[in-house]
């Protein structure tokens, strides 16, 4: 998988941007706040159809463009995939609305033909490595769920749609639970939302159960390699509801340890639905949906030490690096093609040894785009193998490496 060209309009700091990429290595060089990270963000947007950085995708539209009647931000990637060339275009359209905030509409076009978002996700695969991704381990569980979701959305058709429907249904179900508590009313209204939660929730739970243990193998191997086998890492998936039939059990809000379990979609769905019925009284009283993938947790253990609690900076960085290399391999085995690697500043964060290791682990086949504020961080030998683009104030210019 390759990205051959990128053109942006009204995206972040870029009014317009046109650039092309060589088969292997590209280095984006520039001072702070010039637009380097935004370029990687835009490329990864083509994979997951949402910004990996912004809390809301509308933030990615150029601020000056917001003054236009209908602001449109645009990302167009020239993609090479299985020997064929394609264009992948994303439009971020801000429709004006009464209260002035407007509603964001996303359009996706493959080779000029409009596609449903859910059908097109996974068309182009990339792996993004940002320095702040240590948050995956350090922050709350929602960071880890977001991480897993972004990973799975590239590999499983149907995952993103299930997730989006689940979230839409969840907020409505919670609103209804509160309404029933505050004002009473017919509990029969819950039937539809229970159905939506169980149906989409089962898709998510099944995908997570199946893939996390699969992905863990890749992750362990990379972590072992990076630590010279001194440390053993473990990914502990703790589903808030694991698909088991718990009808006869006491309500447990906590966490089930059995991550490897044999339930299939239909069973999970049935059991989930039954569980929601049992919990109905309790959930109306509390006004929230108490079980489901929105409450899942994933913990990282190195030699049985919880890295989220006790991990050293170095350990956490190594874990994130292992995650990213593992993602690359995993996506390759899932889709048959190497994803494009996007490495933001990550080399500056690593010590000499790890940096060499990361650069070495870039095989001869894959395409990688790296950013740096300082070209000197790279050996001249390495820099010579890269196409260098200078990034300054939202403009880019090709320059030959020294």
């Amino acid at each position: 998988m390759q990205i051959l060209s990128l053109s942006l309009s009204n995206y972040r700091i870029f009014k317009r941007l046109e650039m092309d990429f060589p088969q292997r290595l590209t280095l984006l060089v520039g001072n702070n706040a010039q637009g380097k990270t935004s370029i990687l963000e835009a490329i990864h947007f083509l994979s997951i159809f949402t910004s990996p950085l912004a809390s809301s995708d509308r933030e990615a539209i150029n601020l000056l463009a917001l003054k236009e009647e209908i602001p449109v931000g645009r990302i167009v990637g020239g993609i090479q995939k299985a020997g064929k060339k394609h264009t992948l275009e994303i439009r971020l359209i801000l429709n004006p609305a009464q209260n002035g905030s407007g509603r964001l509409r996303k359009e996706v076009l493959i080779d000029g033909v409009k596609k449903k978002l859910f059908d097109a996700v996974g068309f182009f695969n990339s792996v993004l490595f940002l320095p702040q991704m240590t948050r995956i381990l350090e922050d709350g569980p929602e960071e880890r769920r977001k991480y897993i979701d972004q990973l799975l959305s590239q590999a499983y058709p149907g995952y993103v749609r299930a997730l989006s429907d689940y979230q839409a249904a969840l907020s409505r179900r919670n609103a209804l639970l509160k309404l029933l508590f505050d004002k009473g009313g017919d509990e029969g209204q819950l039937a539809y939302w229970d159905e939506m939660i169980a149906t989409n929730g089962a898709t998510i739970i099944e995908a997570r159960i199946k893939s996390i243990s699969d992905f863990e193998e890749y992750f362990r191997e990379q972590f072992r390699r990076l630590t010279g086998s001194r440390e053993e890492i473990r990914l502990d998936y703790q589903p808030s509801y694991n698909g088991e039939n718990q009808a006869n059990r006491q309500l447990e809000l906590g966490i089930n340890q059995s991550a490897s379990n044999p339930f299939g979609y239909a069973e999970i769905r049935e059991n989930f639905l039954a569980r929601l019925k049992t919990l109905r009284r309790e959930e109306i009283r509390r006004g929230v949906t108490t079980i489901g993938p929105h409450r899942d947790e994933i913990r990282f253990f190195s030699n049985d030490i919880d890295l989220g609690v006790f991990g050293s900076r170095g350990q956490i960085r190594t874990a994130v690096m292992a995650l990213k290399i593992a993602e690359t391999q995993w996506l390759k085995d899932k889709s048959g093609e190497l994803p494009v690697l996007l490495l933001d500043e990550t080399l500056a964060e690593l010590d000499e040894l790890r940096r060499a290791d990361l650069l070495n682990s870039l095989g001869l086949d894959e395409q990688a785009i790296l950013t740096t504020t300082d070209l000197k961080l790279f050996s001249p030998d390495f820099a010579k193998t890269c196409q260098v683009w200078q990034v300054a104030e939202g403009r880019v210019e090709k320059s030959n490496s020294g």
């Binding site: 009647e69 004006p96 002035g100 409505r172 609103a175 209804l176 004002k183 209204q189 039937a191």
Partner: protein
Amino acid sequence: MAILPEPLEKLMLAFERLPGIGPKTASRLAFYMLRAPAEVSADLAEALKDIKISTALCKVCFNITAAGRDLCDICAAPERDNGLVCVVEEPMDVLALERTAGFAGRYHVLHGALSPIEGIGPDNLRIAELEDRVKEGRIREIIVATNPSMEGDATALYLRQRLETYPVHLTRLARGLPVGGDLEYADQSTLLRALAGRQDL
């Protein structure tokens, strides 16, 4: 720092409160009214004033009708099929379905859909009134034509639960309608296909 005189400002704000109209369109409309001949604004003002006082809801189907009348034109038409009732969210949907000329039954307008987020429950809609109509026993089939959104689907499923005990056949408009789209925006051929291919609910 009011740059514009107050009456103009007031008109703009009034336009801006309308659905689908942003500040730009609102100011364009306001300036248009300012420049247009006096009768244009007089006609509009009169029409606006009339709309509330000279319309009412049909006592049977809750579609909009002229003030002082009990029934709307559709409920009053003797040749239409009393055994077939199409349930829609909004009066606009009746209009859209009527334009297809593919439906010869009666209607029932709910005036919305179940929406937990907006706090709209069954009691805020004309659901009890629909149940009353069904109780009379003359309706064979009800076509639920709520929008193909989550709220529309939730409403359809809820209607099925409410009407389960009555001997009435419930169907739902076939998909093929754009998901997340509104009935009133669907084109006629799409609507006709959806009507023909309605499914059991």
